[in-house]
Symmetry: C2
Subunit: 317 residues, 2 copies
């Protein structure tokens, strides 16, 4: 069964690791947010693509959830000596990825091609697609001005107030080759438990993606990233609140109601089941917090189970 996953970074990668163990990873296509991408020190950095690739390769730093296992940060000290910006963590081994990607892009490769070369070098069997080959930087309007999402996240540690989220140039961008085709042909589509505003949001904002998902809505299963009113990971809760969305499973369900057929919410949020179902969304209640490998595999099985059920229902109707 061909599965497509829409993914951000750390939260998504945990579930994807579960998938890669619970299904043939060659049947998995991951469409990854690139709104977080930035150019720093002349290097093309794609944080979410790297998190997904490193995680599926079993090479991710398990404590941080990003970067490479056992990496060192000595180059960064020297970059700091040179007066360069050093708020963005760049490990020594990780730097090689950015150098390689930058060299590939400069020599004419697309981001899709560079991404594919990198995942193959790591022996990752799943297909990894950037959401677009064109940069679509996520900008955050705050009280100090409009800044790149990574500056908001890393430099300012999410301590600013989010007034607006801008997907810069998204109208002119196109989904990367294979993105719309994968969504159209997959047996099941998963929206990973990533930040709905700045991880899944940029993917949905690309011309044609939202429509493609709407057409397959019955096959789309999302895992809620908000549990008990808090983010599983990252600033989703804070951003939702500041932009006046409900910081609940229901609030996320409303953002996804046109594209998601099934929503997996945490047992803590079981009381919201009826309100979500009122949006025309099927609800599955599960333990969704992923701490151990077993947690990830269990949640992946739950998602796959929901997808199978939907596929059978689709075949029967």
């Amino acid at each position: 069964m061909e599965i497509v996953a829409l993914a951000g970074g750390v939260g998504a990668s945990k579930l994807l690791l579960g998938f890669s163990r619970e299904m043939d990873p060659r049947a998995l296509t991951v469409i990854v947010n690139t709104g977080d991408d930035l150019v720093l020190h002349g290097l093309a950095i794609s944080p979410d693509l790297d998190i997904v690739t490193y995680t599926l390769a079993g090479a991710v730093n398990p404590k941080a959830g990003w970067g490479l296992r056992s990496d060192t940060f000595t180059a960064l000290e020297i970059l700091r000596r040179y007066g360069r910006e050093h708020w963005f963590n760049l490990g020594d081994r990780d730097l090689a990825t950015h150098i390689h990607r930058t060299a590939l892009l400069r020599s004419g490769s697309t981001l899709s091609e560079a991404t594919d070369a990198i995942r193959r070098a790591w022996g990752v069997a799943a297909r990894i697609l950037p959401m677009s080959d064109r940069p679509v930087p996520t900008l955050i309007r705050t009280e100090i001005g409009t800044i790149h999402f990574q500056e908001y996240l890393v430099k300012h540690r999410t301590e600013l107030t989010v007034e607006e989220i801008i997907f810069d140039g998204v109208e002119e961008a196109r989904p990367a080759p294979g993105v719309l085709e994968a969504i159209a042909s997959a047996a099941g589509i998963v929206v990973c438990p990533s930040n709905p505003l700045i991880s899944i949001g940029p993917i949905l904002a690309l011309p044609g993606v939202r429509e493609a998902l709407r057409n397959r809505r019955e096959r789309v299963v999302a895992v809620c990233p908000i549990v008990g009113g808090k983010s599983l990971k990252g600033p989703s809760d804070k951003m939702l609140k500041q932009l006046r969305y409900d910081v609940t499973a229901l609030g996320v369900a409303r953002l996804y109601s046109d594209v998601v057929g099934t929503f997996i919410i945490d047992v803590q949020d079981a009381a919201q089941q009826q309100s979500i179902e009122a949006l025309g969304i099927q609800v599955v209640v599960r333990a969704t917090t992923m701490r151990t490998p077993a947690d990830k595999e269990r949640l992946a099985r739950a998602v796959l189970g929901a997808l199978h059920q939907r596929a059978q229902a689709g075949a029967a109707s």
Copy 2:
């Protein structure tokens, strides 16, 4: 007394370290060969500039004579995983220098400006000038074809036969800002004990440099890089032989006879003194092998002594 030194890499940097201790380093200007420069993985690498800078900063790897002290090579392992060329050693901390230089060049800085920013970041008081702001790659014609000097040196470990040395584009290049001015105004000029063919040769080949030195010939002191028929460091002896030059102090003196007034040769080569003097070159015989800091300082004092003598002779005449 303002001193200008023409320098290649490791051999030169030892003497330069001696100078920086035996004189006010702020009165020292080093003109560095950039014929070895290359672009690898999209990064602008200037091996000789970095050797000189790191050495004068006291940060060079003391065993190798190049690279940074205590550097690690983990990024290189990952670049290798990506199928990139990995014959050129790139330390993790050293990579930061190449990244910084590349970023500066891409943002519009000249190589001179980038070099100055880097030496200042390392607290180097001497002025360091690239020989030119324009790339002048040294190419080596061999039995397998014409290759970059670094490929000959590092990838093929000097095991190919040198048929011709080409300073690619040198006719169109110009000395970097300050190079000709420094030569014209210095109280003394030192040709460091570097490879005469591929370290000093590219500097001399730049339009105007040879003429500028000829005009100051009486103030130019060279230290012979050949001792007892062998290179102090690197493939000078092999290259001289393959190109049918004499692999002796006299052979080097012939290459420099129009631009050098005084030649410092090793005690082992004292028998060649008369033949070299027959070229119209004053000869100073000294121990020139530099193993310890004291060796470097002693040779630096000998060079400074010869320069002082020439300066006084010039003033008296």
